[in-house]
Symmetry: none
Subunit: 205 residues, 4 copies
């Protein structure tokens, strides 16, 4: 009764724990994050973490799921809208990914998953289908669209999509870990400009 005010609604707990887990996974890596750390950050006991997520791996899986949900629909809509030149759409997609994903969630997802995907093999398919392929398809779509409009020329769509995707992922990856540790954070705005210029120039007929 005394701490009623502090008793959050059950439905929120899972989210809070997941948020704490994502933050710590991103900051310290999966292996270096102890379940009790997650509990502490979420303001619960370590037993409570187990109550909501049976295993630490389940927590990681939930991270992937959460990542895959929110932002992607917006990106898909952006691509479906098909407004402006393909080059402009490419720029928008890059900017959107950078702005919506980097600071919070997506960059962390990639870093964590990259580090652990080898240790949880059944993770891979899940991640590939929920995150990687949908993302890649956005880039492929824009490249194909640009080719159809004679804006772009590209004899290897798959690889170009990988380059576009990868060099953007690198921004998130880098800033989430190495950039901070080395005191060499990449300036997002400048990177995006360079990325866009390089992307469009590289696809020009």
């Amino acid at each position: 009764m005394s701490d009623v005010a502090f008793r959050r609604r059950p439905a929120e707990r899972g989210e809070e724990i997941l948020t704490a887990a994502m933050g710590l996974f991103a900051e310290k890596g999966f292996g270096a994050t102890r379940v009790v750390d997650i509990a502490r950050r979420a303001g619960v006991s370590h037993g409570t973490v187990g109550f909501y997520f049976a295993t630490k791996e389940a927590l990681l899986r939930a991270c992937v799921d959460r990542m895959a949900l929110a932002e992607f629909d917006d990106m898909q809509r952006l691509v479906d809208a098909d407004q402006g030149s393909a080059a402009a759409q490419l720029q928008q997609l890059g900017r959107f990914m950078a702005e919506h994903c980097q600071s919070e969630e997506m960059s962390r997802l990639f870093r964590v998953v990259e580090g652990e995907i080898g240790n949880f093999p059944d993770f891979a398919a899940h991640f590939r289908d929920r995150v990687f392929e949908p993302m890649m398809e956005l880039f492929r779509t824009l490249i194909r669209r640009g080719i159809a409009r004679h804006e772009f020329a590209c004899d290897d769509i798959e690889t170009c999509a990988q380059l576009l995707f990868g060099s953007l992922v690198h921004l998130f990856d880098w800033n989430a870990a190495m950039g901070a540790a080395l005191d060499r954070q990449i300036d997002q705005e400048r990177y995006l400009r360079a990325w866009t210029r390089s992307a469009v120039a590289g696809l020009r007929p």
Copy 2:
């Protein structure tokens, strides 16, 4: 003991252990690699690993040192030689990094260090000075050289260098972990072609 002819020379032991460690760190990550695994791969007992490297962290530190040594000098020479156009030199540098580094050491270095740099903070300066900055300087040099020759135009050399470096690092990163796990290995040759085209086009005046 009696079979002296079949005993490897002690001096080689440390190298063998280090090679084994690098391979396993790259494949499974630092945390998931056990010292006994390293020992097994190196063909020694796990006690012997401790004999050559006092702690597991020392092994990681030694990885960084070794990484910084061998291949870099060749790249430096390539850049110093200054033969052909800046674009051609950029292409050569990319290819050199890809061919000499990916399959063996560099990609592993990056993956491992990326994962652990947050847990061993004093690593960062070491890595930055021995690996990151020398690499970046090669790209900066080529960009400046191209600009001086009016081959390239670039109003943000630092960021362009980061993009070039980063999108190449992504190739190593990706194939070392995600590509394998997701069965989406990037074809190095095709990636390099796309990278070169995009790099040169993005720098064209």
Copy 3:
């Protein structure tokens, strides 16, 4: 709450929980049975189990109490009735124990108590006085009766009673655990025949 008609009567709850507990204790053992499993089988929440039985040990104690009650009175009456030869009464007692006890309760009681009696020392006296001694006394009574009628001869009544009791208990014990696991269930009817024959023959003058 509104659906009062479908709510079981509180008084029954404790019994239902106890029945569920006994079943699970017998099937999986005391240690391997979780309170939530008991709750689930009883159709209540695990909080409710704690409401009726303060601790898991209390649940075990209640099992012993319940065991001691029901069936024993019927057996006592059977022996008190003293109808037919002592051999026939022995056969009836064995059959009664087997039929009324094995499938439901007694076998489970023995298995569970056997397993935990060492961990709850104060259990022992309770069990001895409420279950073991009354049972043994039935066998002793029949043997003495047979001797008085010159039907039986026995120079060690106590041990004979133990053999009769024990070889019957084995039937319950075995089928409750080993028989099932090893796919070597003892056929009750055939075992009883062999038991009776052996018992009567062994007591024949």
Copy 4:
């Protein structure tokens, strides 16, 4: 160097740990025995237990194996020797089982395995083939032999073997747990006499 005298030979460690485990499993049950208790009794650290036996279950499995080995060969020889009447051989087998097995190992084996067989399903076949069936076959052999010699009559060999085996197992079972806890230890000598008399009488033509 100082404790060289106390450094037992590695080969003995596994045996010591196993002995400690068997003792504790028998005294307290599998679930109530903590690995560190086993370690303590064996005079090693709990880590050392894990060094010799990867899991607690492996320790249990090793118990079964040890049980199955030693004494059984002697019993088999006893039966193979075929000296004296079948009744005498039956008596000898019972006595042998009782004397060699009860005080030390076999009774514990049965108690522990009985308790856990349901929790480690793949155990069952192992136990059945290594322990149960060989034992039963000894009894079956003696019964068949007696029948062949017209010493015995039995129309259900399998069940008679179960009764003989089971009522002997009960002696071990009981004294290992209930007998001690209830202060109702069965006197082995007297029980064996009653068992032999009942067995032979029950099989008499």
